[in-house]
């Protein structure tokens, strides 16, 4: 959708997923650095969401506005919920939960991009 943000978001989310999976392989629970990275990804998601809303209001329409809005809202809730769910766990599985949330965000961002560019 917004080329550079999409690349940054997918790379950031997948990077976080890999880091979290490595951490899980080392038998460690979620660490602060991973939470900071998740917060950074969430911030860029918010920026992307605000820009997208601005463009829709200005008249640009994705292939399916309803689908796009659903993805946009979904993209914002996944990481906060994933982090909350992970923080209740003090084993390696908390890192796996964070990795799953990060992969989900990457997939949603890619889907948002294709819906925006005309593929429903």
């Amino acid at each position: 959708m917004i080329g550079i943000l999409e690349v940054v978001l997918v790379a950031g989310a997948l990077g976080l997923a890999v880091a979290a999976l490595v951490w899980a392989a080392l038998d460690r629970p979620v660490r602060l650095g991973h939470l900071v990275a998740a917060a950074a990804v969430e911030l860029v998601l918010l920026v992307q969401g605000v820009i997208a809303v601005g463009r829709v209001v200005a008249g640009t329409r994705p292939a399916s506005t309803a689908t796009f809005v659903a993805y946009a809202v979904g993209s914002l809730v996944v990481l906060p919920l994933g982090v909350l769910w992970a923080l209740e766990e003090r084993t390696r599985w908390s890192s796996v939960v964070l990795a799953i949330a990060a992969v989900t965000v990457a997939v949603i961002v890619l889907r948002m991009g294709s819906v925006w560019n005309g593929h429903a």
């Binding site: 979904g74 766990e89 084993t91 599985w93």
Partner: protein, 140 residues
């Protein structure tokens, strides 16, 4: 009065480590979001196009939600509820998957369970199997 203090501290910080079960709940929650938002969009914007497919989308979302809650709960009966939800889900994905392949005319638009979850890298057909195996191991 040490006894009530200890008890209240324990209730504030219950044993929360669920291990791999926590990952299972997380994946199910992702599918609540995926199936739920898909159903909401389909029913809100184009319900008359393929009512059967969209009702099944909504049904799958409800099943995922029930499975997530049952897996996340540690109340008595939650285990049995989770087994019931996942069994229903497995039957659902197999029946809808088979119907969507055999009679694609009845499914002009995809649901989460179409083609055994093809649009979701087949996670929908693997998930209930992994979940049921986990639940069986957990009980023993």
């Amino acid at each position: 009065m040490p006894e009530p203090t200890r008890r209240s501290r324990r209730s504030r910080r219950p044993q929360q480590d669920k291990g791999p079960g926590r990952v299972l709940v997380a994946v199910y929650a992702v599918f609540v979001l995926a199936a739920g938002s898909r159903a909401a969009v389909q029913i809100a914007t184009q319900f008359s196009d393929a009512p059967l497919a969209y009702i099944l989308s909504a049904l799958s979302a409800v099943v995922y939600l029930a499975a997530t809650l049952a897996l996340a709960s540690s109340r008595p009966g939650a285990h049995r509820a989770a087994v019931a939800c996942l069994s229903f889900e497995l039957v659902g994905v197999l029946v809808v998957g088979t119907l969507s392949v055999v009679d694609s005319g009845a499914f002009p638009d995809d649901t989460v369970w179409s083609g055994y979850g093809r649009g979701y890298v087949f996670i929908p057909v693997v998930l209930p199997i992994v979940g049921l195996l986990y639940l069986r191991r957990q009980r023993s």
